[in-house]
């Protein structure tokens, strides 16, 4: 498992994300809203795949979350999603579950951060 971003690191690199979308902060807010909705759906699917030890699905969902997290410059979420993808590939259920716990924790951290500093 790769080293996770420091707890002190912000859950979003806002400057980098804004640069990718031409500095439009309203659009970033909209994208984060879409991301959150998608995250909840994928997290539910992941939970089910972890219970059923469906490694192919675990890998695919990890890959998908890794991509959308990278697009919005969410380093902690990206790393946790990548770990889930790797665990799915390695068929390592223990590692997959641990990484999923980290993913949910990172998501909570992001929500809290966004609530505190919405712009």
């Amino acid at each position: 498992m790769e080293k996770r971003p420091d707890e002190g690191t912000l859950p979003i690199n806002r400057a980098e994300a804004l640069e990718r979308i031409g500095g439009d902060s309203d659009f970033l807010k909209e994208l984060l809203g879409i991301y959150s909705e998608e995250f909840l759906l994928r997290a539910k699917e992941l939970r089910s795949a972890l219970n059923g030890q469906e490694f192919q699905t675990i890998q695919e969902l990890g890959h998908s979350l890794k991509g959308s997290s990278a697009n919005l410059s969410l380093p902690g979420l990206r790393q946790a999603a990548m770990d889930i993808e790797t665990a799915g590939l390695e068929k390592n259920i223990q590692k997959a579950k641990e990484s999923f716990a980290c993913l949910e924790k990172e998501f909570e951290r992001l929500k809290k951060h966004l609530a505190q500093s919405p712009d």
């Binding site: 990718r20 031409g22 695919e60 991509g67 697009n71």
Partner: protein, 332 residues
């Protein structure tokens, strides 16, 4: 003020539509926003199946395909699109987080033209899209040149009718198809009555205008699937698929009347000309061939001239040998 060529180029870029195929809505939205900002139209597909359906549209020349998609992957889409024949090339940029050398090779071998790793660097994407556009513009230029060369090699440049070689090829093809389908192929050979007098009186420019005017009138009065070619000088040859001798006579008469009733505009004013027409049908002929059809048409045209011009003459059945030719029958 923008120069016209520049404005045209800009308008053409604006009109270009790019397919974005990505199952991640965030990624899709970001791509869409940037592409629109650069003046492209976008079409967003949420999975491989939607993308494949969109790719059937001939207007799509540029596609950004995510490798990992449910149902059909971007890699499979590349392979599929390269297997079908489309009138235009589709330039494909494959997007993926797979960045191993072997993945890049696999993507390019599947038919992608370019490859970018996610998250996409948009300055780089902008530049890579320009590369894609250069290829597309080059293809457009080649297709335009090819079309122009086809026109030059098959059309008569004065009348825009088919040229002699092409109309004879059409006759050959229609005779073969008619034989397969057991349907008659007919032909008309016509020329302008006293065309030399037109040239001598009004000059060759007026003669050219007359030929163009006659060609336009013929095009308007034949059936959509008939083909008209300039045989040589003022002689025009028409191939009429699936057309009996009775019908070709009616069509020829229609052409004669239309020409006789309409005056043609020439630099010196408007002048009247008439046509003589000789008709033949494969149903009235043993062993129909291009040469025998032309021969019979010519003979009927000669009869029309002989019978006073401005009329239609039908060829009577050709004997097996060309000895003892029969006389054409005049219709008016």
């Amino acid at each position: 003020m923008k120069r016209p060529a520049e404005a045209k180029k800009r308008a053409s870029k604006k009109a270009m539509q790019i397919l974005i195929a990505d199952d991640d809505p965030v990624s899709g939205k970001i791509l869409e926003k940037n592409l629109r900002k650069w003046g492209y139209k976008t079409l967003l597909a949420k999975n491989g199946i939607e993308a494949w359906q969109a790719l059937q549209k001939t207007g799509l020349r540029l596609a950004l395909l995510d490798w990992m998609m449910p149902e059909v992957t971007g890699l499979e889409l590349c392979q599929r699109i390269r297997q079908v024949t489309k009138p235009n090339y589709t330039y494909i940029i494959l997007l993926t987080s797979k960045d191993e050398l072997q993945d890049i090779i696999k993507g390019l071998e599947a038919g992608a033209d370019d490859y970018m790793t996610k998250p996409v660097n948009f300055l780089e994407l902008h530049a890579r899209l320009q590369t894609g556009r250069r290829i597309i513009d080059l293809e457009d230029h080649l297709l335009k040149t090819q079309k122009r060369l086809y026109e030059l090699s098959t059309r008569d440049n004065l009348t825009a009718l088919w040229n002699r070689a092409t109309i004879l090829r059409f006759l050959q093809e229609e005779l073969e198809q008619g034989a397969r389908e057991k349907s008659p192929t007919s032909a008309i050979m016509l020329d302008v009555d006293l065309f030399k007098i037109v040239n001598d009186t009004y000059g060759h420019l007026a003669g050219d205008a007359v030929l163009r005017g006659i060609a336009d009138g013929l095009v308007k009065n034949v059936r959509l699937y008939d083909k008209i070619g300039r045989y040589g000088g003022d002689e025009i040859f028409i191939v009429l698929p699936n057309c009996s001798l009775t019908n070709v006579a009616k069509i020829a008469e229609r052409l004669r009347l239309a020409c006789a009733r309409n005056k043609i505009k020439v630099p010196e004013g408007r002048i009247s000309v008439t046509l003589s027409l000789g008709c033949v049908s494969s149903e009235a002929m043993d062993r129909p061939s291009v040469d025998r059809m032309i021969f019979a048409c010519d003979r009927a045209l000669y009869q029309a001239k002989h019978q006073g011009r401005n009329c239609v003459a039908l060829s009577e059945p050709l004997p097996d040998s060309r000895k003892g030719t029969t006389h054409g029958k005049k219709t008016r």
